[in-house]
Structure formats: structure tokens, C-alpha cells
Amino acid sequence: LPPTGDGGALAPPIAPPVSQPVPVGPPVTSGGS
């Protein structure tokens, strides 16, 4: 399951993130760890 290609550059997401004024679903936070 190698998810990354062997490309020579970092690849952007298929679709850019969008702002979500009202969170939906369980709380998940991306932050330092």
C-alpha cells in the first residue's frame, strides 16, 4: 500500500481545503504532536 508516488516533487491535494464555519462530525484536530 505505498501511498506516495515516486514523484520528484511534493504533490498538492486533489481538491483544496475549504473553510467550514460549523464543524461536522466528531472533533478532530490537526496540531503539533
Binding site: 491535494p13 462530525g25 466528531p26 472533533p27 478532530v28 490537526s30
Partner: protein, 309 residues
């Protein structure tokens, strides 16, 4: 995919793992994620003396037979070094020991002696000298060099676990490992909600929740995993060019990419790059949110503006 996914959390790889999926699939998804994380821990942890990585690091320059998964993980780590011109370098293991990060963070010595002005552990970039024989599943690391896959292995685990769980359940899955996030399969209506903060254990900052539908999202921060040497603060993101913790131009950088590995590679490189980071991220087409030490926020590459209250 329902619009009302459920979540489960547990400890893994020295972090909190969160799995989000349709309630009907959550139990099976968690089992698949746990299996993947066990595999990664068994092969890639530098804190387990019985891991394949520890055996490789202790091999004193000899070819070492390892698990397939470590071959993949080292391949991914070396690619991260290539695409960042060495800013994300898996051969900084000795440097990490030198600055005091020599055990699982929970057991680290919080206050230690000063690092010194001319640290002796600085070495020339050595990631280009790591060799892989894929057909034999063997790796060789130069004598005196230790691999540390910390910058990519957790993100790789998130990517692999999300794909594995989505494939096994036939549903969409989000996996967060200490705030490094991968999604796979169908997303909920409106996408997967993810809040952004300096610390993944904190609540999201108001208006700073985004939705993603594919790939990965990672955040690197100098506000976590801090300790002190000689009374001066030290953090865990090392600039391979100096052998010391990176200058703190940015306290936190979040990046979206096609995978969690690429997102984490970019967020780590951005911390190291300092003032050059926004232009570098834009050249790579990566949506990113950068927070300066004083809290000022810059958004580049299509990262959305703060949501109105």
C-alpha cells in the same frame, strides 16, 4: 458514507490515534488501523530495541535484512530528503541523541546540560549514502549514522492505515496520529472536518476548522515536545544544516497535500526554512497555514480564510 460518522481513539506510536468512520464500519476500521500501527511500531520505532530499525542502526555499516515495511518507510524518508534538498533528513538520528531526544518523549530528561556552542554531533549530510537492495529487502546505513524516521513514519502509518481500513470496510475512513491526518474512501457530505491548533490535544482555534475530501493534512509545531538544555529551550524539529533545533520563525505550520506523508514532509521543511517557507510552499502548490511566533497567521496556496463567526 453517512453524514454522521463516529470516532474512536487510543494510544499508538507515542501519540493519540483517532479513527473516524461510518458507525457501521468503525469497529472493523479500528481493528485494521491497530494492525497497521502495530506493524509500523514493530519495524520502524527507534525507541524499541527489537525493531528492525534499531537492528539496522546497530549494524555498524553492514547490509541488514529487514521487513518489507521498513524498506518502504526508508524509501519514503529518502524521497522526503530528495524533494526537500535535505531539509527533512532521516539521518539525523545522532543529532537527535545529541540534543537530548534519546528516548520516548514521555521519559525524556526535561532539564539537561547545555548543548555547547560547537556541537560535535554535526556531520555532513549523509542521507545520500543510505543504500537499499529492494530485491533482497536489505538496507545499509553508513557506520556512525543512525536513521530517525520520525518526520515521515507516523505520516506513512496514517496513510497506510487509512487506505487499509477503507479497503477492508468499503467505507470512508479518517485516521489521525497525533494530529497527522490521512483520509481514504468516500468522504462525508461536505468533507472531513478538521480543526487547526498549535497542539493536536487542544480545541481548534475559533473559525479555523476546514474540510478535506482526500489526501492528508499535517501540522508541525515548535510549541510541543520542548525541553531544556543549559536552561535554554530546545524543540524537536532539527535543521539538518546546523544540527540544532530550527530557528523559531514559525511556531506552527499546517499543510494539505495528496498524502499525509507529503503534508508532513512539507510542514516540517517549512519550519526549517523559516522566512523562505511561504514562497517554497507556493512553488510546490501546497495549501498551507503558517503561524508566526507572535500568533500572526499567513495563508498560502489556497488555504481558506478564517470562517466568519
Amino acid at each position: 458514507m453517512t453524514s454522521n460518522p463516529a470516532s474512536a481513539s487510543f494510544s499508538a506510536l507515542g501519540a493519540t490515534a483517532v479513527v473516524v468512520a461510518d458507525p457501521a464500519h468503525l469497529g472493523a476500521a479500528v481493528i485494521e488501523v491497530e494492525r497497521e500501527l502495530d506493524d509500523v511500531d514493530r519495524t520502524c520505532s527507534r525507541f524499541r530495541v527489537d525493531s528492525d530499525l534499531s537492528r539496522l542502526n546497530d549494524a555498524a555499516g553492514a547490509w541488514t535484512s529487514v521487513d518489507d515495511l521498513l524498506v518502504v518507510a526508508v524509501d519514503v524518508a529518502l524521497r522526503a530528503a530528495r524533494v526537500t534538498d535535505g531539509l527533512v533528513d532521516p539521518t539525523i538520528g545522532e543529532t537527535m541523541l545529541g540534543i537530548g531526544y534519546d528516548r520516548d518523549f514521555a521519559a525524556i530528561v526535561v532539564n539537561g546540560p547545555a548543548l555547547g556552542s560547537a556541537p560535535s554531533w554535526i556531520s555532513e549530510p549523509t542521507w545520500r549514502l543510505v543504500e537499499i537492495r529492494r530485491d533482497r529487502r536489505q538496507i545499509r546505513v553508513p557506520r556512525g549514522v543512525r536513521l530517525d524516521l520520525g518526520a515521515t513514519a507516523k505520516a506513512l502509518a496514517a496513510d497506510r492505515a487509512a487506505v487499509r481500513a477503507a479497503t477492508a470496510t468499503g467505507g470512508g475512513v479518517l485516521v489521525s496520529l497525533g494530529g497527522d491526518i490521512a483520509v481514504a474512501g468516500a468522504s462525508p457530505d461536505g468533507g472531513w472536518s478538521v480543526g487547526i491548533a498549535d497542539d493536536h490535544r487542544a480545541s481548534p482555534e475559533p473559525g479555523e476548522t476546514i474540510a478535506i475530501v482526500s489526501g492528508g493534512l499535517a501540522t508541525s509545531s515548535t510549541t510541543v515536545r520542548r525541553w531544556s538544555r543549559g536552561g535554554l529551550p530546545v524543540h524537536h524539529i532539527v535543521d539538518p544544516r546546523t544540527g540544532l533545533p530550527a530557528d523559531e520563525v514559525w511556531r506552527t505550520v499546517s499543510v494539505c497535500a495528496c498524502t499525509c506523508v507529503d503534508a508532513n514532509t512539507a510542514s516540517t521543511a517549512a519550519i526549517v526554512l523559516g522566512d523562505e517557507a511561504p514562497a517554497w510552499l507556493m512553488r510546490n502548490g501546497l495549501p498551507a497555514r503558517l503561524v508566526r511566533r507572535d500568533g500572526a497567521i499567513e495563508r498560502v496556496g489556497g488555504w481558506p480564510e478564517r470562517a466568519a463567526a
